[in-house]
């Protein structure tokens, strides 16, 4: 914990209310390792218990939306990689989907398959890393995270051979994808998908019933379903609270209606359920990958109507959204007929999922705040934009 601002508050608070006992005001972050970036929480502690928590954002703010409005539509594509830098391919997809709605484009079948394959691989490596980070935050120093990163590396190798970059992929285009799969890529991907369950089996055998994990996470940071819906929480965090809402099933964007997979739902809405929902989602992603890698057809990868240069959608607006690994990632675009969007808006899931951080942490200890924040799954590149 940062001791930069560590002061005993007088008996009477600044707003005149009497303070019961001694309360400590602590500024946790922005360089605290548990924040996974530059993020700060203003805590007020009553003993060890959290009495108030105010998240402070903006350390990584660069006004992504303004930059998006002063460049061309395609010019923003590589910049979407930098939002949630763990999941550049799903960011690309969400943006491409919104622009396709705006301009009336349709990606060909092969491109849709490639999008599903890359998005589900992204989900695998995001959830594996998140599980690793969460356990790291709980004091399982090193091992689970390194196991997860070993698997992530294999998926990043696939991304590199497909797009040329491990993390900043810049791969999707409006109406398709940038380049076709290289020779032998599907075979490589199949190998990764076939070997992944062995890692998951080992990971789960070591951790699911682990006493420390259970006592640190069960009953901690409980999020009731009704509150989660009202606060716009999405993704695994929402489903861990027992709400069955997965955009792959609800919107059936792309070709998700062709695959058979289940949506894991939690019971209690605590940190353990959020961990478990992600582990089970990885199993479902593997099912989708199996089917997609088996069925992918030959064909073009770009809509012939798509224009890379001189792209000017007709005036209008569109909101496109996908189920990114962190929740609902949406792009809202307004075109005035010029080469730049008039309005370019990112609906960032991990920013909105932080709405309830204070509610989840109140009454818990500082050490639990670290675990609860870890279970939200934030990336500051997306939170601050």
């Amino acid at each position: 914990m940062s001791t930069r601002e560590f002061q005993v508050i007088p008996r009477v608070d600044v707003d005149g209310t009497a303070v019961d006992g001694e309360q400590l005001e602590i500024s946790m972050g922005p360089q605290h390792p548990s924040t996974h970036g530059v993020f700060r929480m203003d805590l007020k502690l009553d003993g060890e218990r959290v009495a108030r928590l105010k998240p402070v954002f903006g350390y990584l703010h660069r006004n992504h939306e303004k930059i998006g409005e002063s460049t061309t539509y395609l010019g923003s594509m590589p910049y979407t990689d930098r939002l949630d830098y763990f999941c550049s391919l799903t960011n690309n997809w969400a943006y491409a989907l919104a622009v396709e709605k705006l301009a009336g484009l349709q990606a060909p079948e092969r491109a849709e398959y490639i999008r599903v394959i890359t998005a589900e691989l992204t989900r695998l490596q995001n959830h594996a890393s998140l599980a690793g980070f969460l356990l790291q935050d709980m004091g399982a120093s090193g091992t689970p995270l390194m196991y997860a990163f070993r698997e992530r590396e294999k998926i990043l190798d696939l991304f590199e051979s497909l797009t040329g970059a491990r993390m900043m992929c810049n791969y999707m285009r409006f109406g398709g994808c940038r380049c076709d799969l290289p020779a032998g890529w599907i075979l490589e991907a199949r190998g990764v998908v076939e070997r992944f369950p062995r890692f998951l089996d080992e990971f789960q055998a070591l951790l699911d019933g682990n006493e420390i994990l259970m006592s640190r996470t069960q009953g901690v940071g409980v999020l009731p379903a009704a509150l989660a819906v009202n606060a716009g929480i999405t993704g695994p965090m929402l489903r861990a609270s027992g709400v069955n809402y997965d955009l792959r099933k609800v919107d059936r964007y792309g070709i998700y209606d062709r695959f058979s997979f289940k949506v894991p739902i939690g019971d209690h809405g605590d940190v353990y359920d959020r961990y478990m929902v992600r582990v089970l989602e990885m199993r479902e992603s593997l099912k989708i990958l199996d089917q997609a890698l088996r069925d992918i057809p030959d064909g073009p990868i770009l809509d012939p109507k798509a224009k890379l240069r001189g792209f000017r959608p007709k005036p209008g607006e569109a909101y496109g959204r996908i189920e990114s690994p962190k929740g609902e990632l949406g792009f809202y675009l307004i075109s005035d007929g010029s080469p730049n969007p008039y309005r370019y808006r990112v609906r960032p899931p991990s920013f909105i999922n932080l709405t309830l951080l204070e509610d989840l942490c109140l009454g818990h200890q500082v050490a639990d705040v670290v675990v609860i924040l870890g279970s939200v799954d934030i990336v500051l590149g997306e939170v601050d934009r």
Binding site: L102, N230, G232, K314, G330
Partner: protein
Amino acid sequence: MESLEQIKIWTETAVAGARLQLVTNPGPSGQHSLLVDNDHAAAVARFFLEDARLRLDYASNVTGIDWPEAVLQEKRKVKQTIEGVEREIEETIERRRPGFLEVVYHLYSMALKQGPVILRLRTGDRGAQARLPSLTPIWRGAEFQEREVFDLFGVVFEGHPDLRRILMWDGFKDFPMRKDYAPPQESGAGREPAQ
């Protein structure tokens, strides 16, 4: 999902005095929206949330749009009699549109798995009248997003529980997402002078 015309009729029946206006979207996405008057915005939002046919329990995306004052050109056909012959002439009319800020809510129903219904609110101008009722008491999901609109566009949300800047620092003066925002020329400009 019912058509917006139907939703408009339901809403105007249920919320006395509410005036809704259909805003059509000329683009291929077909996402049209409903413009609601500010006095009844909270009541309309409450109706959207509670009505059994709509159950719009999830405010997904909340964002602002800046529309500065502009001169719009409209073409229309007029009949004129020139030298005794009646002709149809296309005439360009210039219309001044006063500036305003707009806030857009993309609403979905998680319970009924339907949506979106797009709700728009408009401020009176871009200065003193840039005030709107906050919908955070109805959808908590709007809390941070309305703060962001306040921070970057300068819309004051009345009834918001915690309206502070969220991405820019507290001493910052301007609203960076407005179209006429000029970035500071030298580093440090825009900050409050050190005291």
